[in-house]
C-alpha cells in the first residue's frame, strides 16, 4: 500500500468542476457594472517613425469615453529588468506590424472598433530588418539605438574544459547546421484584462497572466502608482504555454483607461492580435560541432546559436543563454563551448514557449546524435544509455545534477516500443525515431535580483476543519491549484477537495514568482508543504496528547490522525484543529521556498541553467510518409518522462501527452512566418494547430526517480516532455525515407523536394537544412516589393513602352 493518501492517486483536479460546468470565470467572462470596452490601434508598418498621432476625431465619436496613447505611459518596461526596451504603447516609433499604438475605451466594443479607424496616424517608414543576417550586418539601420553592434540584442560566449584538446582527441567530428522555425503558443483563450480603479484610489487588474507578481511590479513602474495600491488577480488562464508571461500593452492600457474614466475597462485581444502579441518560440539558426571517440564517447561540443528575437527583448537574454545552457545535462560532455547571439528584427517579439530556449538546441543536438550513432554503427538507444551524465554529479558548465532518470526513460521506451529491433527494419516510407532531453524544475534565480523566497504559501485552518491555501501561483491549466491542494491535503491528512485554494492574487496570497520555467510544482509545492508541515506539527502535538501516542508514531490520512498500528484510536482532523486552535490560537502558517545555493557556477551568465532538479525524458516516434504527396503522418509518439514523483498521475500524463501534441505540431506544420513584415497566417485556419484527426496516438510513461529535494519527490512535468518529440520525429523521418531534416517544420513540399519529386526533374537529396547563416528564401525584400507594388507597375508591365530606352 502506498505511503500516501493523496499523492499518486487519480483524483479529479479540484478546479475541474468549475471548468466542466461553465462556472470558471476567465478574464473575458468578467462583466462589471459601468464597464467600458477597449480596443487597441496597432501599427500597420514594420518599422516607422510616428510623425503624427491625432485622436481627436476618434475621441469625438459618440460612445467613445477615453483614449490613451504611448505618450501617456512613456516609461520603459519589460519582463527582464536589465533589458527593458518596451513601452506599453508605442512611443515615437513602431517596430513591428501589430505593435499597439493607442487604446480606445467606449461604451461597447463595436464602438471602440469603429473609433480605431478615426484615429489619424502618419508614419515615416524606416528601412525594416527581417532576417538574422541583415540584423547582424546593417549598422546603418537601428531598430533600437541601444544596440552597440548593428542590431544585436545580446551576445554571449562561454567556454568550459579543454575544447581544442577535446576535438583533437576525437576520432570523428560532426559539424552540422540546423534551423528551427519560429512558432507560437496559440492558447485557445486570447489575452484579456479587466481593470477597475475605484474611489479608494486602488487599482484591481484581473488578467490572463502567468506572472501576476512581475506584472504587479511593472504596473507600478509604468502607471506611477504605488504597488500597495495595485492588486493583480491572475484569472484562470485558458492555456498559456509561456505566451502570457510578459507584461502586455493591453494590461497597462486597460489600467490607465480605468484610472482616467473611473470605470472598469476590459480589453480582450482577438485571435489575430494574439499572433502579434506572440512572445513565442524564437527562430534559431544553429551550428553544432561534436567530437566523439570511436565508441561514441563525446570529447567536445561547440554549439553556436543565432536567435531571431523580433522587435523587443521579452525574456530574450534568458532565451539566449538557455539555447546553450542545458545541452550538457543529459550526456557526458567534457569540453563545451557556447556562442549565442540574439538579434532584433521588425517582427513581433519572441519569448518563452514551452521548453524555453532549450527546444531548438535539443532538436539539433539529438538529430546530430542520431547521425553520430549512424556514422559509428551504433544503436541510437543503447548509445545514449552509454553516455549518460550520471546522477549526483556536476556538468562541465558547473550545473548540479541530482536525480537523473534518463536511463530509465530509455529502458521504458525500449520495452514499450522495441525501438532497437524495429529501427531500420520498417521498410521505405515507414520509420521509427528516438531522442532524449532534459528540462529545469524552475529557474535557479528570479528575474530580478533579490534574496527573498521564490515561492511563499500560507495555510489557514478554520474551526470547522476547513483549510485554505493561499499562494501566488497562476493557474494556467497545468493544474497548479490542484497541486497546492494535493500537497497540503497529503501533509494534513485530508483530501484535496477539502481545500480552498486562493491563487494568483497579489493582495491575498504570498508571492510566487509565477507559472513559468516549470517551477511551480517544485517551488510552490515545497512552500506549501513547508507551511502544511508547520500546521501538522501543531495538530500532531495535540493529537499525541489526546491519544497518548508519541508524535513520531502518528500519521494523518482521510481526516484522521492516528497510529497506524492501532488505527481505531484516532482523533478527527476537525477535532484536532479545535484543540490546536484552543492551545495555540488561530491556525495560520506560512511556508516558503528558495533554491539552494551552489547549484550552478559563478561565472557571468551562470544564472541561467541551474535548477534545483532537472527532469529527464525521451520519446520514440513512429511515422509514415506518403511518397507521392509528401504527406508526413506521425502514427504514434511514446514519451517516457522522469518527473521525480507523480503527485497526480493523471495530470502528469496529461502534461506529457499535451507536450507531445505541441511538439508534434511544431515539427509538422506550425510556423510563425512573415512576408515583408506582415504575418503570413495570423488565424487559426492558416496557423495549423493539429486537430483530433491529425494527432498521433500518444502514450505517456511516467518514470519516478523520487528527487530528494522535490515536494514528496516531485520534479517538473509540463515542459520537458515537449523537447524530445521534435527530434524523435525528425529521426523517424530519416528512418523512413533516408533524408535528414535539419530544419523545421517538415512540410510536404520539403519532403517532395528531398525525394526529387518537387517538379518531376528534381534530384533526390539526403538532407534538407541550412548550410550556413544565409537565408534560403532568397531576397527578403522581394516580399516588401510585392506589398508596395502599385497599379502603375502593373500597367507598365501590361503595355511595354515600345522603343523607349
Amino acid at each position: 500500500m502506498s505511503e500516501f493518501s493523496v499523492i499518486g492517486r487519480r483524483l479529479p483536479k479540484v478546479n475541474s468542476w468549475a471548468h466542466l460546468t461553465g462556472e470558471a470565470r476567465y478574464a473575458d467572462d468578467l462583466f462589471l457594472p459601468r464597464m467600458l470596452f477597449g480596443r487597441l490601434l496597432r501599427s500597420t508598418r514594420p518599422h516607422a517613425r510616428i510623425r503624427r498621432l491625432d485622436v481627436s476625431r476618434a475621441a469625438a465619436h459618440p460612445g467613445v469615453v477615453a483614449i490613451v496613447t504611448g505618450a501617456d505611459m512613456p516609461a520603459k518596461m519589460g519582463i527582464m529588468p536589465s533589458t527593458q526596451d518596451e513601452t506599453a504603447l508605442a512611443v515615437d516609433k513602431v517596430r513591428y506590424v501589430g505593435e499597439p499604438v493607442a487604446a480606445v475605451a467606449a461604451v461597447d466594443e463595436d464602438t471602440a472598433f469603429d473609433a480605431l479607424s478615426l484615429i489619424d496616424i502618419d508614419y515615416e517608414d524606416l528601412e525594416p530588418i527581417f532576417t538574422i543576417e541583415e540584423a547582424l550586418e546593417r549598422e546603418d539601420v537601428k531598430i533600437h539605438d541601444e544596440s552597440k553592434r548593428a542590431n544585436v540584442f545580446k551576445e554571449v560566449h562561454l567556454s568550459f574544459g579543454d575544447l581544442e584538446g577535446g576535438f583533437a582527441s576525437a576520432d570523428h567530428v560532426r559539424d552540422d547546421w540546423f534551423f528551427f522555425e519560429g512558432n507560437t503558443h496559440a492558447p485557445i483563450e486570447s489575452h484579456s484584462a479587466v481593470a477597475s480603479y475605484g474611489g479608494d484610489d486602488k487599482l484591481t487588474l484581473w488578467t490572463a497572466t502567468q506572472v501576476p507578481h512581475y506584472l504587479h511590479r511593472e504596473l507600478e513602474k509604468v502607471l506611477g502608482l504605488a504597488r500597495s495600491r495595485i492588486r493583480v488577480i491572475a484569472t484562470p488562464n485558458g492555456g498559456a504555454f509561456g505566451g502570457k508571461s510578459d507584461p502586455f500593452g493591453h494590461e497597462f492600457a486597460a489600467a490607465l483607461l480605468s484610472i482616467r474614466t473611473r470605470r472598469p475597462v476590459k480589453i480582450t485581444l482577438d485571435r489575430e492580435e494574439v499572433f502579434y502579441a506572440h512572445r513565442g518560440r524564437h527562430p534559431v539558426k544553429m551550428r553544432i560541432r561534436t567530437g566523439v571517440r570511436k565508441d561514441g564517447e563525446i570529447t567536445a561540443v561547440h554549439y553556436q546559436s543565432w536567435l531571431d528575437g523580433g522587435a523587443y527583448a521579452s525574456y530574450g537574454i534568458a532565451t539566449t543563454y538557455y539555447t546553450g545552457a542545458l545541452l550538457t545535462v543529459t550526456y557526458r560532455i567534457p569540453a563545451y563551448k557556447f556562442d549565442g547571439v540574439r538579434v532584433y528584427t521588425n517582427k513581433p517579439p519572441c519569448g518563452p514557449k514551452r521548453g524555453h530556449g532549450t527546444t531548438q538546441p535539443r532538436y539539433g543536438f539529438e538529430c546530430q546524435l542520431d547521425k553520430i550513432a549512424q556514422d559509428l554503427g551504433l544503436d541510437a538507444l543503447e548509445y545514449r544509455k552509454r553516455i549518460l551524465q550520471p546522477p549526483q554529479s556536476r556538468t562541465v558548465n558547473e550545473l548540479r545534477i541530482t536525480s537523473m532518470g534518463l536511463g530509465e526513460c530509455l529502458d521504458a521506451l525500449q520495452r514499450a516500443t522495441r525501438y532497437s529491433e524495429r529501427h531500420g527494419q520498417l521498410g521505405r516510407g515507414r520509420g521509427i525515431g528516438l531522442a532524449g532531453s532534459a528540462y529545469i524544475s524552475g529557474a535557479g534565480l528570479p528575474i530580478y535580483w533579490n534574496e527573498m523566497p521564490h515561492s511563499g504559501a500560507e495555510i489557514r485552518i478554520d474551526r470547522g476543519g476547513g483549510v485554505t491555501v493561499m499562494c501566488g501561483t497562476a493557474e494556467i491549466g497545468q493544474g497548479s491549484d490542484n497541486m497546492l491542494a494535493s500537497v497540503a491535503a497529503e501533509a494534513l491528512g485530508i483530501l484535496p477537495s477539502d481545500v480552498h485554494v486562493v491563487s494568483g492574487d497579489t493582495s491575498l496570497a504570498p508571492v510566487d514568482l509565477g507559472s513559468y520555467s516549470s517551477r511551480v510544482t517544485f517551488m510552490a509545492g515545497n512552500a506549501v508543504k513547508d507551511a502544511a508541515m508547520k500546521l501538522r506539527a501543531l495538530l500532531f502535538a495535540v493529537a499525541s496528547e489526546k491519544l497518548g501516542t508519541p508524535v513520531d508514531h502518528l500519521v494523518a490520512a482521510y481526516h484522521r490522525i492516528y497510529d497506524p498500528s492501532d488505527p481505531e484510536k484516532f482523533i478527527t482532523f476537525a477535532d484536532a484543529a479545535v484543540l490546536a486552535e484552543s492551545k495555540h490560537g488561530t491556525l495560520v502558517a506560512a511556508g516558503s521556498y528558495k533554491p539552494p545555493k551552489g547549484i550552478g557556477g559563478s561565472f557571468k551568465g551562470a544564472g541561467v541553467g541551474p535548477t534545483p532538479a532537472y527532469s529527464y525524458q525521451a520519446a520514440v516516434a513512429e511515422v509514415s510518409v506518403d511518397l507521392e504527396t509528401g504527406t508526413l503522418t506521425v502514427d504514434k509518439v511514446t514519451t517516457a518522462h522522469d518527473c521525480g514523483r507523480a503527485l497526480s498521475p493523471a495530470n502528469v500524463e496529461g502534461q506529457i501527452e499535451g507536450s507531445a501534441y505541441m511538439g508534434y505540431g511544431e515539427i509538422i506544420a506550425e510556423e510563425q512566418v512573415f512576408r515583408g513584415g506582415l504575418h503570413k497566417k495570423p488565424s487559426l485556419l492558416d496557423y495549423k494547430l493539429p486537430t483530433s484527426l491529425d494527432t498521433p496516438t500518444l502514450e505517456a510513461i511516467v518514470v519516478e526517480s523520487v528527487d530528494a529535494e522535490g515536494p514528496f519527490g516531485a520534479k517538473e512535468a509540463g515542459e520537458g516532455p515537449l523537447n524530445p518529440v521534435i527530434p524523435a520525429i525528425a529521426n523517424a523521418v530519416y528512418d523512413a525515407i533516408g533524408v535528414r531534416f535539419d530544419e523545421t517544420p517538415i512540410t510536404p513540399e520539403k519532403i517532395l523536394d528531398a525525394l526529387g519529386k518537387r517538379d518531376n526533374r528534381g534530384i533526390p537529396k539526403t538532407r534538407i537544412g541550412p548550410d550556413g547563416l544565409a537565408e534560403r528564401d532568397g531576397d527578403p525584400k522581394r516580399a516588401r516589393r510585392r506589398l508596395d507594388a502599385s497599379t502603375e507597375g502593373r500597367e507598365r508591365k501590361r503595355t511595354p513602352s515600345v522603343g523607349s530606352r
Binding site: T44, R271, D686, K688, T691, P748, L752, D788, T791
Partner: protein, 338 residues
Amino acid sequence: MLRLPRFRILSPRTYREAAEMLRDHGAGELDRSRGTPTLRVLLVAGGTDLLPNMKRRQFAPEILVSLAHVQGAAGIHENGELTVSAGTTLTALAEDARIQERYTALAEAAGVVSTPQLRNMGTIGGNICLDTRCNWYDQSLFWRTAEGYCMKTNPEVVCRVATSSPRCLAVASADTVPALMVLGATVHFEDARGGREVRLAEFYREDGISPSTLRPDEALTDVTIPHEDGWRSTYVKLRDRGSFDFPIAAVAAAVRYDGRAITDARVAITALASRPMLVEAARAALVGTRLEDDAVAAAAEAVHKAARPMDNTSGTISQRKRASRVLAERALRALRPA
C-alpha cells in the same frame, strides 16, 4: 472579440420574396461611402462563409437577406432525378444513404468540408456560391490595411499574388462543386422576374472577383442531378489537416460502366485555379478503357496539365500541382471494380 459590422436582417418566406428584397434594396450596387467598396445587400444561408468574411470586413452590407426561413429550402428528393434544395446542410448530404450510394462523390465531398459544426450549418447552396479564397484576401481589415489592400476588395489595386496579373487570382475552394460537376448537376435560380437554370459545369469563370455567373439579384434554389445507371464516383481532397481546412488541391471523378468498360467519364478539379473545372481531356483519356494503368495515367496527365495553382493558399505551387496528378490517379483507381 471580433464582431460583425452593423446590418439589418430580412427574413423572407419564399425565394421570390427574397429576390424581391434583393431587387428593392439595390442588389449589385456598391456602397463606396465606408472605405472599402461593399455591396449594399447580400443573401445569407448558413452564414459560415459570409459571416467570417463580414467580420474581416471583406463585406459590410447594410442588409442581409436570410434564407433561413424560406419554406422548403432544405430537403433531398428523388423522382427520376435527384433534387437537393439549396438550404440542405452539408451534414444532411453527407449522411444521406441515397447520396452515399448513388452519388458517392457528393456525400464524400460534403463530408470533408471543414468541421462537423460547420457542416451542420453550411448549406449546399452556400458551398456552390462560396467566395473564392486567397491568403492575401482572407485577412482582417487591419491586415489588409497593412498590406495596402488587393484587387479583390479594391479593384484599383494590384493582385498581390502576381502583381502583374490583370485579374484576381483567388482560388475556387468549394469541395462539393467538383463532385456535383462530375455528377452532371444543374443549378436552378430564382429572381424577382422568374427563374433560370444552368449546368454547373458552365456556371463558373476564371475570375477571382466574379467567379461565377451568379447575379446579385438572384437566389440559388435547387441543385438537380440526373439519375443514370452505371456511374461510380469519388472525391479526393488534399489539405493540411484532417478537418477545418479548405482543399489545396482536389479531384472528383466519375466513370460510367457498361460491364467492365468505361462508356463515359468526368473528372473535375478545384482549388487549382480561380474556377472549378471539368477536365475534358481526362474524359477522352478514359472513355473506352477499362481504367487500366495507362488510361489512369493519361487522365491524370490531363488533370496535371489543367491544374494552375498559384501561391495563394496553404502549401506550395509545386506540391499542389504534383498532387493534382496523384489525386487524380488515386480517385480513378478507387473507381475500379472491386
